[in-house]
Amino acid sequence: MKHLLSAADLDLDTATAVLDTAAELKATLLGREVRKLPTLRGRTVITMFYENSTRTRVSFEIAGKWMSADVINVSASGSSVNKGESLRDTALTLSAAGADCVIVRHPASGAAHRLAGWLGHTGTGVVNAGDGMHEHPTQALLDAATLRERLGDLRGRRIGIVGDILHSRVARSNVHLLATLGAEVVLIAPPTLVPAGVEAWKVPVSYNLDAELPGLDAVMLLRVQAERMHGGFFPSAREYSIAYGLNENRMKLLPEHAIVLHPGPMLRGMEISSAVADSERPAIVDQVSNGVHVRMAVLYHLLIGTEGNAL
């Protein structure tokens, strides 16, 4: 693995190897007082975040630091980006300065692919930490890690992805990865939030959450971004919540074993009621903690490779 740009690029063996490494790291670090491994000592990892983000950036930073990498954070504000420097020049500069890996979050779909192209000759790896409406592969990996913990083997499991499919990079990455892992995915959203051409994704689409809930092993809620709410995609937050919000009554329709995922940040009261969010069922806190281990595993596979046995 030289780059991680898209969950679609992960075959079953690679995805399983990354998830197994993440589980191993989690077990190794569990209960340790000093959560620091020497694995990436001397490696330099740079995060380039062109969008506001707390959880993803912090998660990558902790992942790097727990493996003893030197982690440097660059954000669009307060850098040469503000002076009008192109993404290409910024990337080449950071690579030349010694980055072994850059982790990029960018509002343009395909930005990580472009970066990998520009850095192709340098040996600097690229991790896509979310590009526009395209993909967010480490989010899909941490979701899969969480699902595996709670449900075991994902083959034949049915996962509902609910909400703004159209604009969601989380949805795209999850559709790819869950299919690779053998799970069935059903997309649940109002028609205005389903992309044209979704037929090619080869997954069922439903407009009716209540009808789908009884058949699900997990329900994955997507964040509805504020700008979508005012973009005329649906009449009101209230109406969205009535049809697609996960509340206590809806929870009764879910099978006992089924779990609830949300990539965060949650819009309480709209996407998910506070009672549900704070109940035992959601795995949202596990998602955050698994995020660190999955990103450690990704950095490990990217920078050390599968041959290394430094764990």
Binding site: A108, S109, G110, R114, A196
Partner: protein
């Protein structure tokens, strides 16, 4: 100056003949014409066509002379077999006044390689709010007969109605960039499977088709003349067929890139493939080829749109839309229409020269290959094969989606009113 083209095939048909050009006109056509005192050009087996006419180019001057000038764009046009090109109005300043259109016209005359006809803006500053002084531009030295806000759609139906109506007195045509702006907010790629996979905001076919349908109705209602720029969808072809059948004054163009390339290329996220309207599906490509062969789409226009490297070598959504086209148009048409036997060379003459000249009302372009006619000519080697290298183009800008492609057929000589403007890949200034 006199020149004798030896052994050419007129429209690629019949027996080889010699063509004698004297004083800017085709003086004689016949077998074994005498060669004394004239420049002889050996052209055995080459196809002679009327010089091409491009209704849609962006020559970037004034304003973006770092990407193209009227001189470099004229050179590219001559090398591509063109004897007349229409320079779109979206320059800086916009070509919405007599001053700017006369400047463009004069700069074209100074370059002297191709007739550069300025397109006048329909609305002041391309803002879509107020009609520009169409009459003044029409009566200027530039003699503007084609008006367009290309790059922007004249989306206000009342303004479009007025433009179609008013231009009747000027014997002019309104060339519409058909894009309903409310349906294409933030649009980056053809709405469909590829865009959904790549996470690019969709540019739906209906945004083009709804404007074309509306404008055809307005053209019929007003009796004005409408020209539809860069038709890109199957549905637009259907609308045009319907409108033409009911006697609407409408014509339409298709670009070479929409005849060859599809949105599958977007998977690389390389903005050399970014263009507006966007690359569509292979179904659309097939429909556009058939429509061009049938005459529902009248002609080929390049939408030649040079861009600086920094405006293309960036992330997709930041990149400017547009592609070079003047030096690849004939070869792409050969690849998509001639090799496929959808058009013969006479058909190529129709779609690249005769129809565009008629649409724009150019009396001395797109003329028959006959004695006494103006010698605006393109000589084509139908058997050539060449590999596209953007760096070799006459344009200042060099990025092209055709980079590295091997294409058939090549223009070997271009003649403007009897004067050779390009020969064997070299500009003759």
């Amino acid at each position: 100056m006199s020149a004798l083209l030896r052994g050419v095939l007129l429209y690629g048909e019949g027996d080889p003949v010699d063509v004698l050009v004297e004083d800017g006109v085709i003086a004689r056509i016949g077998a074994d014409l005498p060669a004394e005192g004239v420049e002889v050009i050996e052209a055995q087996g080459k196809v002679l066509l009327p010089g091409f006419v491009d209704l849609h180019t962006h020559l970037r001057e004034p304003g973006r002379e770092d990407t193209e000038t009227i001189a470099t764009g004229s050179a590219a046009a001559a090398l591509g077999g063109y004897t007349a090109v229409f320079a779109m109005a979206n320059t800086d300043p916009v070509a919405d006044t007599q001053l700017v259109v006369e400047h463009v016209w004069r700069r074209g005359q100074e370059a002297g390689l191709v007739d550069v006809h300025p397109v006048g803006a329909v609305t002041v500053g391309l803002k879509g709010e107020k009609l520009a002084e169409l009459g003044t531009m029409a009566r200027s030295a530039a003699g503007v007969r084609v008006f367009s806000d290309d790059g922007h759609c004249v989306h206000d139906p009342l303004l479009m109605r007025r433009a179609l109506e008013y231009s009747k007195a000027l014997d002019a045509v309104i060339a519409q960039h058909a894009e309903e702006p409310r349906l294409t907010v933030g649009a980056q790629a053809n709405e469909g499977e590829v865009a959904s996979r790549l996470g690019l905001a969709g540019w739906p076919a209906v945004a083009e088709e709804s404007i074309v349908a509306r404008d055809c109705l307005l053209a019929k209602h007003t009796g004005g003349r409408l020209h539809v720029c860069h038709v890109s969808t199957t549905g637009t072809v259907d609308v045009l067929r319907w409108a033409k059948a009911r006697g609407t004054g409408v014509s339409a163009e298709v670009t070479p890139h929409h005849l060859l390339l599809t949105d599958e290329l977007l998977a690389s996220y390389d903005p050399v493939n970014k263009v507006n309207p966007p690359l569509r599906t292979s179904v659309d490509v097939q429909a556009l080829r058939a429509a061009l062969a049938e005459g529902i789409v009248d002609c080929v226009a390049t939408d030649h749109a040079p861009h600086a490297p920094q405006d293309k070598d960036c992330e997709w959504s930041s990149a400017r839309p547009g592609m070079l086209g003047l030096q690849t148009a004939l070869s792409v048409v050969a690849q998509t229409m001639v090799i496929t036997e959808l058009l013969d060379w006479r058909g190529v003459a129709r779609v690249m020269s005769e129809r565009p000249a008629q649409i724009a009302g150019l009396p001395d372009q797109g003329r028959p290959l006959a004695e006494g006619e103006p010698a605006n000519l393109a000589l084509v080697d139908p058997d050539a094969r060449w590999t596209v290298r953007g760096a070799d183009f006459a344009s200042i800008s060099d990025n092209t989606p055709f980079e590295g492609m091997e294409l058939p057929a090549r223009v070997v000589l271009t003649m403007l009113r009897g004067r050779i403007t390009a020969h064997e890949g070299k500009v003759c200034g």
